[in-house]
Every structure is written in C-alpha cells, then in structure tokens.
Amino acid sequence: MATPPALLVLEHELLLYRRVWRGSIVSSFLNPVLFLAAMGVGLGSYVSQHAGTAGASTGGTAAALGGVSYLVFIAPGLLASTAMQAAAGESTFPIIGGIVWDRTFLGMLTTPIRVHDVLLGKIAYICLRLTLVCSVFFVVMLLFGATHGPQAILAVPAAVLTGLAFTTPIVAYSATQKDATGFNALFRFGVIPLFLFSGTFFPIAQLPGLLQALALATPLWHGVDLCRTLALGTADAPGVLIHVTYLGAIAAGGLLLAERAFRRRLEL
C-alpha cells in the first residue's frame, strides 16, 4: 500500500500552497476581471463601433472575429494566455528555488524519493494550479457573459493542456539555470511576445505573411485557437486533433528534457 513517491512530493507542494491559497485565488480572480473589463469591455466597445461602421461594406471586423463580440472573441484567448503565464511563473522560480536557493529537492532526495518522483510531483502540482487558475478564469468569463454556449467549458481543459505545453520545457530550462537572471529573457523575449502576437488579441490573419507562419508554429497560437474554437463552438475534429497532438507532443518532449536536466543537476 505504498504511496507513489511523486504523490508525496505533491503533498509537500500542497502544504506550501496551503499558506498562500487565499491570496492566490484572489489574484486568479482579479487578473481576468481586470483584463476582461479593460480589453473585452473597454477596448471591445470601441472595436464593435468600428465594426459597425466599416463592417457594413467590407464584412470587416465582426467577420474577422467570427461574428461574435470582441469580449467573447478575446476571452478564450486570454484564458489560454493566462494558462501560459501561470505555467511560466510556476516553472521558473520554484524550480530554481528547489535546486539552488532552499535546495528542498536535495532534502527530498535523501529519502526514498527519486529525482524522477520530484519532477513528476512538481509537474502534477503545476497541473493542479493550472486547473485552478483556468477554472477561476472561466467563472469570471461566465460573470462577464463572455461565453458562447455551454460547450465553452471545454476551453478549461484545453487551457490546462496549453499551460502544460509551456510547463515542461520551461521546467527543463529552469533546471539548467544557476540563478534567476535567465528568466528575464524568457519572459521578455518568450512569454510576452507570445502573449501579444499569438492570436489572443487579434486573429493572426492580420499579421504579415512571414510572422503569420511564425505565429502558426507557436504553441500559444495552438492553445488560443483550441480554446477559442471550443469556446465558440466552431471546433472541428481535425483541428482539435492537430492542436491537441501538437501541444501534447511539446509537453511530452519537454518532460523528457526536464528529466534529463533534473538528473544532470541533482544526480552529481
């Protein structure tokens, strides 16, 4: 009846989370409230006016957005982006902390727990965090009336998968770092550009050709498109399959890299 060691690592993470859960839930709630209010409602009303005037002759903005309001358009995109950002946050500082700062991973490794278990436990915890963040986000979407039918709930697991596709490669990267300086570059040149140009705020069809191809290759675009098509009820099986496979493959590849990085760092 032995408990799988990865679950014991997860138990440790939950013990830590118990200290901060209130603040964490409040910020998981406030973040989408602010974004949906500013971008969805504020900017959205301006976009809709514009669509009303220009749209009549050209088919314009409303058509480009798939015939829904800007709020409904960006909400699932923001959901996917939020999952990415939460994943990046959980996969950077806490990892280097466990290896370099508090060295809690080293403490675990003097017990029957193995390197592999530490990694799996940590990723399991991040999955739970992502599920929580995305679920709270979805509740806020409901409150804003930013959903389009009950199938929209499917965007939640899609967003968790998106987050996971960022988690494992970033964990692998973090496990190779000596301090936190590399994280600045990761956020500045990775997370933020993806957030801005992967279809969260506008359809990537608006991008020039080359950038469009680039955007198509990014995991966030796949996550955004998966969440959006599921939320709007426009998803088709091949599209979902491509997105899920792509994101799943990145998550799995990242896990292999993370395992290798963990071993190199912790099995000296």
Partner: protein
C-alpha cells in the same frame, strides 16, 4: 534478509568519485561495523563530502565497490535511503514551513503514517530542544537551531545509519556542545554514526575510529588515540617568537625533540616530555614570547601526514 552480527554496515573497496576530469575520491577502502561511530577527517576539498554523498546514495559511484546496509546503491538506492538519516553539509530545510511541518513532511517522504509521525515529531522536538519553537517558521531560527532541526529531521525514520556531513561547522561553541551531546546520546543508544569533520576536537569527542583524508585519498586510519600514538609524539611544545625571529632560528631548533614543525606563526616541537624540551630550548638561549606544553592532538597527526593544518 539475514545479516551476520559482524557484517559491516558499510563496506567500500576502491570507491571512486570523478567529476569530469577531477577525481574527488580516489579508490578508498573502509568498513564500518554496526554501532560504531566512524569519521572522515580532512581539510576542505579532501573528498569527504563526495564520499558521504555516495554513501547516502544520492551521488552515483564512479568506480569501485560500495555496499550500504548490505545493499548496492546502484540498484537499491530508495530501499537503502529508507533506512538512512542524512544531515547534509548545507541545510535543506523548507524556509517557508514551520519547524514541526518540516519534520512531518519529511516523515511523509518516508511514507510514514501520520499518527506515527505526530508522535515522533513531538519526541524529536523534545530531543533537540525545539518544542517551544514548533510553530515558528524556520527562517526565524538561529544557525544552531536550524542544525538541530536538521538532525531531528534525519531521525524521523529511526535510521539504522546516521550520516552527518560537518554537523557543527559554523556554529558557536555553545551550539556545538549541545549538538555533540545529542549525537553522543544517539551513539549510546546504538545508532551507527558516520561523520565528516575538519575539527579534531569533534573527531576526538565523537569518533571511535576515523580515517584521515587528504587529496581524495585515505592517508591514515585508526582510533584517535592510535593515530596520535602512531603519527605523533606524546606531547608538543609550542613556541611563538617575536616577528622575524622565527626565520633566523636556523639550526637552533634541531634535535630539541623527535621532530620540529615550523608553522607560519609558531614552532611545534614534538617530544615525549614537553617540559624537558622547553628546558632544553631555554638552555640554548631561545626566548620565545610564548611557550606552552600540551598533549598531542589529531591536528598534529594531520600536520604530520599532510604538512598542512586542517582548517586551510
């Protein structure tokens, strides 16, 4: 699994650790019997910690044989670690958790049932005198308290073998003596201790037997007393001369004792009778600023064996 009473708890033959091109532990042999306290003595960088980490089954063996509790770390790492207690050189405590949470989560890593953990946490807090701090966050503890907590943590699974890597380095004398007392009690209870240190007083207090390591190799082995008998004289005369005088003493020191060692700040004369040597020095007209006669210590053994002082 059957173990004969004389079977060593630890057995190493040609044990080697390499990091890239550097050999940190170079083919060392040792055995540790159940109930024994065994020490690795040596300066920083001698390879003590690397040896300890292999014994703790957290660092893969690069060469040679190692058996811990009768098992092979290569295949039985988790099973061995389930029966070890480890006090690493640097604390790995959870700064964000409380003192008692640190102990209980560590017990969970061994998959111990929660009610058993609760009992042991209370006993261990008492043992290391931290009961009053049980609900405090670890960050607020002093260095000595953190070290005591790490020792308590290493005992949560009632280990058969306790590994301590420089248990008291960096602590003030009071904290060290309290720790030594706790370790001595464990030894009395029959727990096998393996420790590394670069303090000879620590080795003398705690170790039944020790090996002296220098540059990745074992250069001597025995009880503290045996080592002193074999590698040093009974007594030592220490003399400190005014600045500049020591360098001009060529020849004046020869033959004062069995052996003369010149350190940067003083001269050590090894002799069976230190007072006789002191009188002889006086008769030769030597006028040290300070002179004292003391018993030989492991520091002298170390100096003899390596030509260097321990805390380099």
């Amino acid at each position: 699994m059957l173990e004969t009473p004389t079977a060593p708890l630890l057995r190493a033959r040609g044990l080697t650790k390499r990091f890239g091109g550097i050999t940190a532990v170079d083919a060392i042999d040792f055995d540790v019997a159940p109930g024994e306290s065994f020490g690795f003595l040596g300066p920083n960088g001698a390879g003590k910690t690397s040896a300890m980490r292999m014994i703790a089954c957290v660092s893969p063996v690069s060469g040679g044989e190692l058996s811990v509790l009768g098992m092979d770390p290569r295949v039985d790492g988790p099973r061995i670690r389930a029966r070890l207690g480890v006090v690493p050189q640097q604390d790995t405590l959870d700064m964000e958790l409380t003192v008692s949470e640190n102990l209980s989560i560590y017990g969970r890593y061994f998959d111990l049932p929660r009610n058993l953990i609760r009992e042991r946490v209370a006993d261990l807090l008492d043992f290391v005198q931290l009961t009053e701090r049980a609900r405090d966050q670890v960050e607020s503890l002093s260095g000595g308290m953190k070290r005591r907590l790490t020792i308590a943590r290493s005992l949560i699974n009632e280990p058969d073998l306790l590994l301590l890597d420089e248990p008291t380095t960096g602590l003030d004398p009071q904290a060290r003596h309290l720790l030594w007392d706790r370790l001595y009690r464990l030894k009395q209870k029959g727990v096998t201790l393996v420790l590394t240190t670069h303090y000879m007083d620590e080795a003398e207090q705690l170790c039944d037997r020790l090996v002296v390591m220098d540059k990745a190799r074992i250069v001597a082995e025995g009880s503290p007393r045996q080592l002193i008998e074999q590698h040093s004289s009974r007594e030592v005369l220490e003399m400190r001369f005014p600045v500049g005088v020591q360098d001009s003493l060529d020849g004046a020191l020869d033959g004062l004792g069995e052996r003369v060692e010149r350190l940067p700040d003083r001269v050590l004369v090894y002799a069976d009778d230190g007072d006789v040597a002191a009188i002889a020095a006086h008769e030769r007209g030597l006028r040290p600023e300070m002179s004292l006669v003391r018993r030989s210590s492991l520091e002298d053994v170390f100096l003899r064996l390596t030509g260097r002082s321990l805390v380099d």
